[in-house]
Amino acid sequence: MVTESANFLMQKGSLKAMGVLLFVIAGSLWALSIDSRFLYLLVYVWFGVIYGMFLQYGRFCMASAVRDLFAVKVPRMAVGMMIAVALYSIVAAIVTLSGFSTFHSNAMGWHVMIGGAIFGFGIVFTGGCASGSLYKTGEGNMNSLLVVLSISFAQAIIVSATGWWDSLVPQSWIDSAAAKDMPAELSVTQGWFDIFTAGYVWDLKGATTAEIFGWADTTFGIVVLNTLLTAIFPVAILLVLLYAFYYRKGYLRRSGKTALSMGEEMAGMWAMCTSSKNTALAGIGLGIFAGLHMYVTGALREHYGIMNFGEMLVAMGYTNGLSLQETVFDPGYWYITTQEAQWGGWVMQQLGINTMENIFFGLDNGLPNPLLNAPGFMSIGIILGAAVMALSRREFKWKLPSWETAFFAIVGGILMGLGARIGMGCNIGAFFATVTNGDPSGWVFLFGMVIGAYVGVKAFTKWMDWNASRNSSGCDL
């Protein structure tokens, strides 16, 4: 009887999963029937679906990578993240060598670490990183949807804010911003984020390791400096540290030994990497597909003769919401927070709040209709892909937030949005996509994230202790 019920639920879940997939297929065909050039946008959709499926399958959340090390001393997700970085960097090297890379380095400065720390603090309270919150939304978790909405509106408000916010930035940044020859409608000396961008970030340099050493566009620079030195070597060091500090003690106990030979240490490292097969497989899959995503978008750009999706939108007759450069946000690879900021900014714009008179939307990313926001559809694809996987594994469950979890989702989401904008990206855009393409600034962001998560776990533990001490429904924890 129990087996029959389980089979019925499994079949029902699989049918619903199939329904979600058919919905994406039907939507894709509808878009292509309108204009075949929407293929460019659909690449984002389908890579999003793939990311969502892998994320849910491996319970792959980069928040867990830094948080669980301090919260419960579990290195599972940190190991999975390192596997994904290694694989992505190898595929990224192949893509770069083939001439289809769409990657741009981030500016290196103190803002990267500060942004990472604020973001890392926030993720402890929201229970997921930007991608993690999307895939958990696909599992039916409305608390995670609240996190996504909070990140979206927080960013839109942060990049548009002016007034007392402007007193947060030094006069030297205002002077530097004023010296830039920018269109008058942007008023770059007003709005703290514009001043921060034009007066500080634009004065910094961003480069891959190969570019720093003068080996850009060479095989040696791409393979040795960008991939081996900037990605694989740090990954190897971090895996050894994770093994030594978080896994070896348990491995010794389980093997019944007090000392290990070098061969046994290597076997222990392997055991750590494969201890969660789901997470390891997801890391491999995400690493490979993240690289392929960049290749496919790069090849399509060459095929259509464009540098940015905005050019294609203009050619198709869609001109609303483009930036002053007639561009829209179109990274060409896995990215999360900027398109979420666009969602928030677009809604605010519809409500009559002008959010286009700033550098972030007005000059760089535009505010396209969400139905024409290609990276935005990648985020929606992640939700749908995760829903497919969760339904087929009978793990989908509608969950509404309580006051407590909603408070954490909103406050944590605001902090994540603030951190992502100051750090110029989240754990994907400012870390995962950067280090794998040879940009060392991503390690600085991760370092900031680790510090923020450590402080966040300390604060969260104090709150938990207080909450548990007033719990009257059972025993004290």
Partner: protein, 83 residues
Amino acid sequence: MAMSFNKTADGEWKLDVCGYTCPHPQMYTKKALQKLESGDVLTLVFDNPSSGESIMAMCDAEGNDLVDRQEGSGSFIWKIRKA
């Protein structure tokens, strides 16, 4: 929705963290296991799938036995015997 932790019988405990996302379930589980005596069994009820992976790794690292796993419709009931 609220976390509940109860003693259900001699040497048997129940922790219900349904409705919570990360990191609540794994952190509450860790604290609950610290309360238990060696050999005690904790029945853990949760509905955040990703917490399961971390709890499993935590049990593995500390030598606690995951003696029973029931899963379905997005909910999980696990029994953990403390080492």
